[in-house]
């Protein structure tokens, strides 16, 4: 009820010219697939789609998954304070509320009084204006790595030590051990992890809190694009249409991963 109805409502809205204010707010008209055609002809939409791909690939697949795995792998045999400190820091980034984290990052990256510029000895380097996508990607890596790290740490616990030792006795290098022992064992975990973080990142709205999509749409990922179109411009119908497209892309991504997950090598 609460899940399906809003979803169906979005599908319906996407076919109307519903607006936040004005005549069309009181009496929306069915306009068919016009909204979708507008979106597909809108360079701003394509820009957002491309930025979203960058965002997902850069911050989720490469950033969170690789970094999370690397931390989990390095900490796998460690006990004691080092492990607890690293885990503590990483998990802290995950449990803080988004609004707080976003504020911290705005303060960190501020051109005038930002911590980062102070540390690097730069003055008036406007990270969020000059490198908005980079800032947003690094922000999301920092924010989401904890999940991947914990998932991989649990997965690595399931790799039988004797298999790794067997490979070591054969003379396998670290990379060969990963390729021949670890990845075949945690393949399912890797795919589940990628599926989840890809979808979460795809729909992630927190970049808005750093850059609001700007400057000039340079960090306007699809989730932010929808918000800007639907709420700030008031074109609810058009926003709903883009939401539907996002939904379809998510479906494709999910099916792709689930296919991989089911296929036994």
């Amino acid at each position: 009820m609460f899940l399906v109805f809003p979803a169906l409502w979005v599908l319906y809205l996407g076919l109307t010219n519903y607006r936040l204010t004005g005549v069309a707010a009181a009496d929306p008209q069915i306009v068919g697939v016009d909204n979708f055609l507008t979106a597909l002809g809108n360079p701003r939409f394509w820009n957002s789609t491309w930025l979203t791909v960058e965002f997902v690939a850069g911050s989720a697949v490469i950033g969170q998954a690789v970094l999370g795995f690397a931390i989990a792998w390095m900490l796998r045999d460690r006990r004691g304070p080092l492990r607890r400190i690293v885990e503590g820091i990483v998990i802290l980034a995950w449990i803080l509320p988004s609004a707080v984290v976003a504020f911290l990052w705005v303060a960190l990256l501020d051109p005038g009084d930002g911590t980062l510029n102070a540390v690097l000895g730069l003055t008036d380097f406007a990270w969020l204006l000059d490198h908005p996508m980079l800032s947003v990607i690094v922000f999301n890596i920092w924010r989401g790595t904890a999940f991947s790290m914990m998932l991989y740490a649990a997965a690595l616990g399931n790799v039988p030590p004797s298999h790794l030792e067997s490979a070591r006795l054969a003379g396998a290098s670290g990379w060969q051990q990963l390729r021949d022992v670890v990845f075949p064992h945690i393949r399912g975990h890797v795919l589940t992890n990628l599926l989840l973080i890809s979808l979460w990142t795809f729909n992630d709205f927190s970049p808005f809190m750093l850059t609001a999509g700007g400057p000039d749409g340079k960090s306007e990922v699809l989730a932010v694009h929808v918000y800007n179109e639907a709420v700030r411009n008031g074109s609810l119908g058009y926003g709903a249409a883009i939401s539907t497209i996002i939904l379809l892309i998510n479906l494709v991504v999910a099916v792709f991963y689930l296919r991989l997950l089911r296929s036994k090598r």
Partner: protein, 356 residues
Amino acid sequence: MAAIELRGLTKVYPGGVRALDALDLVIPDGEFFALLGPSGCGKTTLLRTIAGLETATGGSVVIGERDVTGVQPGGRDVAMVFQDYALFPHMDVTDNIAYPLRIKKVAKAARQAKAAEVGARLGLDHLMDRRPGQLSGGQQQRVALARVMATQAQAFLFDEPLSNLDARLRLEARTFLKKLQRELGVTTVFVTHDQAEALAMADRMAVMEAGHIRQIGTPAEVFQRPANTFVAAFIGSTPMNLLDGVVRGGTLEVAGCALPVPTSAQGLLADGEKIVYGVRPEYNAYASEPAEDALGGKVVIMENLGASHLVTLDVNDVLVQAIVPEGREPAIGEQGWAVPRRDRALVYRDGELVAG
């Protein structure tokens, strides 16, 4: 092929547990050597330290005249069969056997030929395309053995190689392993907690307790002349009778009975000394009539061992066991006499064997 030599080998785990305490051991080239002991005695740690999977805290490991103490496992030229076999589930039998060769960058055709050759020798030829998950326990074990053989390492290390097999298969595998080792002539060290397995397979064996080697010898030596009461109690499918006694004149007073001094301890005991008298149930003859130089008492328990029975006598509140052959079993409550063989009975002083 090479000898293995351990000098003052010590392993202390973080937290202070001394798993190995200054061990010295020489295993000659081609020997089938067993490390035997109860769990936690350090036998597996010793094997893993030879393999390089554990780093020694002190001392050195020498394999074939080469000091490998600081060498990574992959550079030691040893191969290991793990207790769980450690076969890679995503590779078929051929790839599993050929894996160490692949790491050593042997060409694909050559390593597949080697895998096929070794596999055929172990009767795996019809299983080469299967995954480990599709094999029985015995077949998996042979794949693990084949992988070890394909490496042509200097020495083989087996960690409890038979413990994952069911009882019947274990006996077959025991004979098979021994025959295979003999044919290959590769120095082999295996770890087991099963004394029967060690006695049956090994050329020589070390009995370990709490990080120390308590005795090294051939299975016959270890069985017939355990060097101390720990080994005496650990070895043998029925535990040795270890009875407190005192030297009185020319005889030993044990459980209220007078026994002659065993041959091995002749002339080595002082009058009035406290000793422990050891005799295996197998070396106790049983008599249902009063006998000379015997431990006499009431039959309290009878245990069926198949072709014989284990009789437990209550001798003045001390329990003494003897083996009775088929057809001569006494009834519970009867009087019986256990007559130790003088040439097989042993005397321990402060836990150590008294012998000339």
